[in-house]
Symmetry: C2
Subunit: 205 residues, 2 copies
C-alpha cells in the first residue's frame, strides 16, 4: 500500500469545538463530510487522544468552524499545536456562541455547523461521530480553506537544514588517499593516482 | 438552517465501483475521508438508491478512483448521469482491475484505493461504509479534482435562458394606459398622464 495515494483525498480545515459543563475546548481537524439529508447529517472523525474528543463523548454536541482562505498559521497553531488539557485555548478571547453555547470562530471562517451526536463508532485511533445538523450559518463570502491550501500555502516551510558537520579531511574516491585538513586546495592533485579535487569527497568529524 | 453553509465543506470527486458475482457497476460520488490509521480506514457515504450501493452491500468490497484535474465532463456523465440498473457502464471499455477484481479508471485519475467493508450504518437516504484499506496506488502526478473544481470548471454552465416571450404591448406604470404593439416608439409619451417611454413596461403574449 502506497500511503501517498491516501494523501490525494481532498479535505477542508476546521476548528472543532465542544463543551461539557464548564469544560470548553477546540482543536483543528480536517475530516467532515455531509453523509445524509433529511435529516441532514455530517460525519467527523476525531483522534481519541484529543481533549475535544472527550468533551464530545461527554456532551454529545459540537460546533465546526469552517476555516476560510484568510486563515493564518497563528490560528491553526493556537488551536492545533497545543492541548486543551494543558492550556485554556479560549481564555482571553471573546467568541460568538452557537445555539448550544459552544464557541465558534467569528473570523477567518466562512461557515459554522452545529450538531448533536446521533451515532458514534470507535475506530481504534479515532472515533467517528455522526452529527445531526441543528444549525448552519454562512459567515463570509471567502472560499473555504482546503487541506491542500494549508499544506502548500499556510503552513510554514521547514528551513533548509544547515550543513553543520565539520569537515576534517578529504578522501580520493579513486584510490582512497586521504588529505588531512578542512580545506582542500583548489589545485590539489592526488599524490598517489593523480586525480584532481573533483574526485575527492569530504570526511566529516 | 442555511444549507448553503454546508456547501462550504470541501470534497474530492470519485468514481466508486464495486462488483458482486457477475454484477459490476460504478458511480460518481464526492464523499470519502480517511477516518483512522492502523489499520487504515476510510469512510464513504453512498445514496441507498444507487445500484453501486446494492453491490457494496452484497459483496463488501469497493474501489475508489480519485479523479484528477484532467477529468472531463464526459467521464462524470458516463458514470454519474445514468444508472447501472439500465445501462452496462463497463461495456466496451477495458479497465485495469484492483486486487479484488474491481475495475478502476486508469486515466483522468491520480490514485486508486481498494477496500473491504468492516462496518456500515444506514443513515436513511445514504449508507455510510467504513472500509479497511487493502491497497492504495498513485496513478498520476496530477492534482486531485475537487468538488469545487468540478462545479466551477468541469460542469457545463447552463446556457442563459433566452428571452423568447413575445411582447404584444406596453403598459404605462403610472396610469396603466396600454399601447398596443410590440415596439414602443422612442419618443412616445403617454396620452393620458404625459410620462415617457421609461415609465412603460412590456406586456407579454
Amino acid at each position: 500500500m502506497d500511503k501517498k495515494a491516501l494523501y490525494q483525498l481532498s479535505y477542508g480545515v476546521f476548528m472543532l469545538a465542544s463543551k461539557a459543563g464548564d469544560k470548553v475546548n477546540g482543536c483543528i481537524t480536517n475530516t467532515c463530510m455531509q453523509v445524509a439529508n433529511s435529516p441532514t447529517r455530517v460525519a467527523i472523525s476525531v483522534l481519541n487522544t484529543n481533549y475535544t474528543c472527550d468533551l464530545i463523548k461527554e456532551s454529545g454536541i459540537f460546533a465546526l468552524s469552517l476555516l476560510d482562505d484568510t486563515c493564518t498559521f497563528e490560528t491553526i497553531k493556537h488551536f492545533g499545536f497545543q492541548s486543551g488539557r494543558n492550556v485554556d485555548k479560549m481564555e482571553g478571547i471573546t467568541f460568538p456562541k452557537d445555539l448550544n453555547g459552544i464557541p465558534y470562530l467569528g473570523w477567518q471562517t466562512c461557515a459554522v455547523i452545529s450538531c448533536k451526536v446521533v451515532e458514534s463508532m470507535d475506530l481504534g485511533s479515532h472515533t467517528l461521530f455522526i452529527g445531526e445538523v441543528l444549525d448552519a450559518k454562512l459567515l463570509s463570502e471567502n472560499a473555504p480553506l482546503t487541506y491542500a491550501d494549508y499544506q502548500n500555502r499556510v503552513k510554514p516551510k521547514p528551513q533548509a537544514v544547515k550543513e553543520e558537520r565539520k569537515i576534517v579531511g578529504w578522501r580520493c574516491k579513486i584510490c582512497k588517499y586521504v588529505y588531512e585538513g578542512s580545506e582542500l586546495p583548489a589545485d590539489f592533485v592526488c599524490p598517489l593516482c593523480g586525480h584532481d579535487r573533483d574526485d575527492f569527497e569530504p570526511i566529516y568529524e
